[in-house]
Symmetry: C2
């Protein structure tokens, strides 16, 4: 038996705004940041649980304070009791009635609970000596179904539905695990498409993406229509008429503007249009989807919880569902969303990039492939090539595919040296640069 | 010209969990709390801007930290520039791209921005020497329309729509102001209906509500069906067959359970069913509304932003719209919601109670009556009779009606002595009671 003996949070920020990596129509100057959590225990195995919430700069301190507010829920608690019934642990954290008032189940407090949940999963996987994707994929349908809170989604997904979906994949899991280990999981890259890049850099990066074997790229749009047309034309010229090019408006438009703008870009045959409007606007996405068919609508990186995803599916508002590893309340809630997507037959193509999001979310897609949807068809994980060097097991993308992680844990552990160097505002990277510190 | 010279936040909590005032099916033991903000200036007039976010205990420190994170946006800024164009001020705060990531437009960070917005409105009204309701009601349609951000709602409400709605009421504003000053605004009371009260206390409080002239009461339901039936029968016996009795499930049910449970309570002819399920579930509320008609569905106290309210109206999911003064981003966003409700012809019956919510939200309903909907028909403000003594201008409810506030400002200012006494965890009320401190 062991106990949680340390709950350590830190505010870690990378000064990405200086290079315009990550610039889009809504986020002109992000400083990619992590509100980081380490759970320490008194077990002799030496394993800690690591997790973080990704933010883009200002407010990362608020996010860290929210994680810290869970100290009383974690410190001194029996680790085995928490890890042995992660479904109960999730419900206990999410349904704390006083903390729930701060959402409910959305925003800073919900993401903080997600960090606690994810850190416990990291610890559980390290103790099992398995990467998270593999540990989850080896759990039995009943065990997985018990991780999900069906509250507010039972009209579309019952526990019986979940067991049925999961059981259908059991006999062929081993085969898919072999395929995954041998061939990896498809990736697409957003690296060419940031708004801050000039045309020459765009063309060069498109060519590099093709040469690297990526089966799809994505371009940011929505700031200026003429620019979007010119940039899409360049990308089409480089990539050819049949290569999938997705576009991403980062919530820039209202519903009528989205429809009008996308119709102007339709000749370039985008693979999907991502975040055309407010992530909360289920009915708006449905209206857009009907108007622009057969172009598919994609959203989800800012989807606050499983209730929103249930509705996007019910309303036939999305053709591509994009989970994010740190926006909802951790692994459990993402499993609920993967099950909902499987029930509706909608492919899941996760949001990634930022800092550590590729490292984290790949585990969920690989679990989805082996145990939930059973398919890679039409499924890809976003890939952006920066900040991976800060992680203990950086993603490996080869030939346009994510290689399956091999180290035990959830992939969210950042090197201690990076955490120290980029700690805000007193780490050496920020202490040496007071001007940049002022902007964040 | 003056400058914001002080941004002071505090964590104020009232140990209400000891009395079970405020107990419902989801919130068993709330400690009513306020994450409180005071904006000080260097103007000679001595006016401060006061506002708060209401929470129910744990996490109130996180909410205060989020308000404090806006210090850089406020301190040293030109007060007149902020107050003269409150529409621009709202957009500047809400569309800070880095802070926006933490919602977007929902949860802790959005409510923190709401507190900053509301404190500025308090200051503006004090400078004008008018209660907020009166100052707003005297603004011209164009000015009011400029307070609203139409982003994400323009498919249902354009600036032209807003001006049209507001202009239609201008000629008769003065008449309604006289009516309001003479007769007040209808209130309904939730005081009889908390789940923690026994049957005898329920019957006594129902009788007292009738005697006091309240045109409606509300009972909490959703914990136990037999208890609900027994309690509704008692209330019906005391109040008679035609007296309006609303019921409130505080998000307790899933969609199928809500429909089944409400059908069991239908013989008691509830005036509305409030928060039957997750506040995010637009489609679920619409399904419930269709199934239980003509009983009306009400929701909104946990509605995160105007995009949610737009959809509840589009989907015909609600017959009663319940704004809250501190859940969305302050006065401006609530004006957007009042305008949407007027466009759809749905009455607004605000959520209140907690601490200071009655004091704050009455201004919005009175403004709605004079300048937006132009009607009190089917409209009432919730009233709960506790914690009013802590406010500089406590609500006056007489004969079941709110009297119009008379003092300049937004009504959100709490006595300094109360703020000191209930400051958590070091104010005298908490310092003297370590056991209660542990629970919060």
């Amino acid at each position: 038996m062991s106990t949680i003996t340390a709950v350590t949070t830190s505010d870690i920020r990378f000064p990405t705004s200086t290079s315009l990596d990550g610039s889009d129509a809504m986020n002109a100057d992000p400083d990619y940041s992590a509100a980081y959590l380490v759970l320490g225990t008194d077990a002799a195995d030496g394993h800690d649980g690591h997790a973080f919430v990704f933010t883009i700069g200002r407010g990362n301190d608020v996010q860290a304070a929210a994680i810290d507010a869970l100290r009383g829920h974690l410190l001194g608690h029996d680790v085995e009791a928490l890890l042995d019934d992660m479904g109960a642990t999730w419900r206990w954290l999410v349904h704390d009635s006083q903390l729930r008032w701060l959402g409910p189940e959305k925003g800073v407090m919900h993401m903080a609970i997600g960090a606690a949940v994810n850190a416990l999963w990291d610890l559980k996987a390290k103790r099992a000596g398995l990467p998270l994707w593999q540990m989850l994929s080896r759990m039995m349908p009943d065990e997985i179904a018990d991780l999900v809170d069906y509250r507010y989604i039972s009209d579309e997904l019952s526990r019986d539905d979940a067991v049925r979906i999961l059981t259908a994949q059991v006999a062929t899991r081993a085969e898919r695990e072999q395929t995954l280990l041998a061939a990896g999981y498809p990736a697409y890259t957003t690296s060419p498409g940031w708004l801050g890049y000039d045309d020459e850099k765009l063309a060069r990066l498109c060519r590099e993406a093709l040469d690297a074997g990526f089966p799809q790229i994505k371009l940011k749009v929505g700031a200026d229509l003429d620019d979007d047309i010119r940039r899409l034309r360049i990308a089409r010229e480089v990539c050819g008429p049949d290569y999938p090019i997705a576009i991403d408006a980062n919530q820039r438009w209202d519903v009528p503007a989205a429809i009008a703008w996308i119709q102007q870009l339709a000749p370039f045959a985008p693979a999907w249009i991502e975040e055309p409007t407010s992530p909360d606007d289920v009915l708006g996405h449905a209206t857009i989807a009907r108007a622009i068919a057969p172009i598919r609508v994609a959203t989800g990186e800012h989807g606050a919880n499983r209730v929103l995803f249930k509705q996007l599916l019910q309303a036939r508002a999305i053709g591509v569902l994009q989970i994010d590893s740190v926006r909802v309340a951790g692994v459990n809630e993402n499993i609920a969303i993967l099950l909902l997507a499987a029930k509706f037959g909608v492919p899941v193509c996760p949001h990634a990039g930022g800092v550590g999001l590729c490292e984290a979310v790949q585990h969920l897609s690989m679990f989805d492939y082996i145990a939930v949807s059973g398919s890679m068809e039409g499924r890809m994980i976003e890939y952006v090539d920066h900040l991976h060097e800060h992680f203990v097991e950086p993603t490996r993308v080869e030939g346009g595919r994510y290689r399956a992680p091999e180290q035990p844990g959830s992939g969210m552990q950042m090197h201690a040296a990076s955490r120290d160097r980029f700690r805000f505002p007193d780490g050496p990277e920020w202490a040496a640069n007071p001007a940049a510190r002022g902007a964040s």
